[in-house]
Subunit: 242 residues, 2 copies
Amino acid sequence: MTARIKRAPLSRDRVLESALALADAEGLQAVTMRRLGDELGVEAMSLYYHLPGKDGLLDGLVDTLAGQIEYEIEHAVASRAGGNSDTALTAEQDWRAVLRRRCLAARRVMVRHPWGPGLLASRKAVPFSVYLLFEGTLATMVRGGLSYHLGHQALHALGSMVLGFAQEIFSPAQAAGDVDPDAADAEFEAVATALPYLAAMVAVEMHDNDDPVLGWCDSQTEFEFTLDLLLDGLERKRLTGS
Amino acid sequence: MTARIKRAPLSRDRVLESALALADAEGLQAVTMRRLGDELGVEAMSLYYHLPGKDGLLDGLVDTLAGQIEYEIEHAVASRAGGNSDTALTAEQDWRAVLRRRCLAARRVMVRHPWGPGLLASRKAVPFSVYLLFEGTLATMVRGGLSYHLGHQALHALGSMVLGFAQEIFSPAQAAGDVDPDAADAEFEAVATALPYLAAMVAVEMHDNDDPVLGWCDSQTEFEFTLDLLLDGLERKRLTGS
DNA sequence: ACCTGAACACCGTTCAAGT
DNA sequence: ACCTGAACACCGTTCAAGT
């Protein structure tokens, strides 16, 4: 018997890890099934045993990024005040500081992996791991005293800033590619349990919306909202002479 | 002689037109040299006679979008006040209204061609046609009384909103792929003539910048600027109970 | 259970050749 | 001047086959 070098056996995690490293090193367009196989000393076709194909791989990468953001949020040191984060300040008392920390955490991950926004934009559906981030952000705002309506708009504004893209959020049916409306309902219920704040927001916004021209999530409204928020802010800065 | 159907001869414009229609109909990923050839009744290789390759095609598409935005800005009817646009209001007097019109015009084009932001994000360099749009926006702000510094930050904020992406703007050397620094200087000068406000902004910002850690265009600063603008605006809305 | 080889239907691009 | 055919080096994916 020839003594062969026994590589560590392949696994979903090992493939994702390698894909992440490859994307960091050479960009997302270098992440190719064949190239990834090379990197792992394996034929491209072997990857299909561990992952459901290229789209599955990319979704896995998104989940990895979302996980890193979650980790950063947890372990973030308040960059401004400089005090330790175990003070009595809670989300209720200072939602702005919490939100700021969340956004900066997300941004840190995106800066570390500059292909992140592009990857996000390429996914047809918002992966669940990203919905979890939205949920946390919305929870922060609602507990801080913002209405669901305002929270919804803010979600668009901050999301498009942090992720570098703006698209219709939270249309679970489209996301799952369901055809059967019953299946969509069942799924919605399951999702709603995991994402109570987002579910409440959908309920409120759908109720308020009397003219569902572009769907309940009329992003033209969100766009103008953010635009005016920025223009008003700029005018204020102009008056103080920045 | 068999009577052949003589198709209209190919041209850069006809190819771009067809590419735009194809992207609208089936998405950007359907825009393929071979597919585009089919659409035009021609072999894929023929396209290379009229365009310098796929990247050239995509750059051409960006220019087309930029042109549409320019047209929309020119022909926009003020959507809010409802009055005609031939009033005495000039940029100097109401920079916010002008800026609003510009952003909404750009957005209308992006909504018409939803693959626009993705296409923009895919380009390694910001095409000149897009710089022209930035120039007009910056000019509006500076003439309206904003400092170049504030205008710079606003360009990032509005650009990332409208185009759905955030990246380092205005690094002409990288954009042109130059290696020779003399060539870069010459090009800079040529560009500066066409884009006086952007050129002035670069001059001001470079002078002010004493710690060029991340290049003069430190987008972390821009990010936090926009973030705080939004957070402050949200807090104000919260207090008035939206 | 895990991986491979051959095959299929696609890409962008080159280059010599046709008219 | 304008277009084509053949060829090259790539894609993702399937599926039967190996160990």
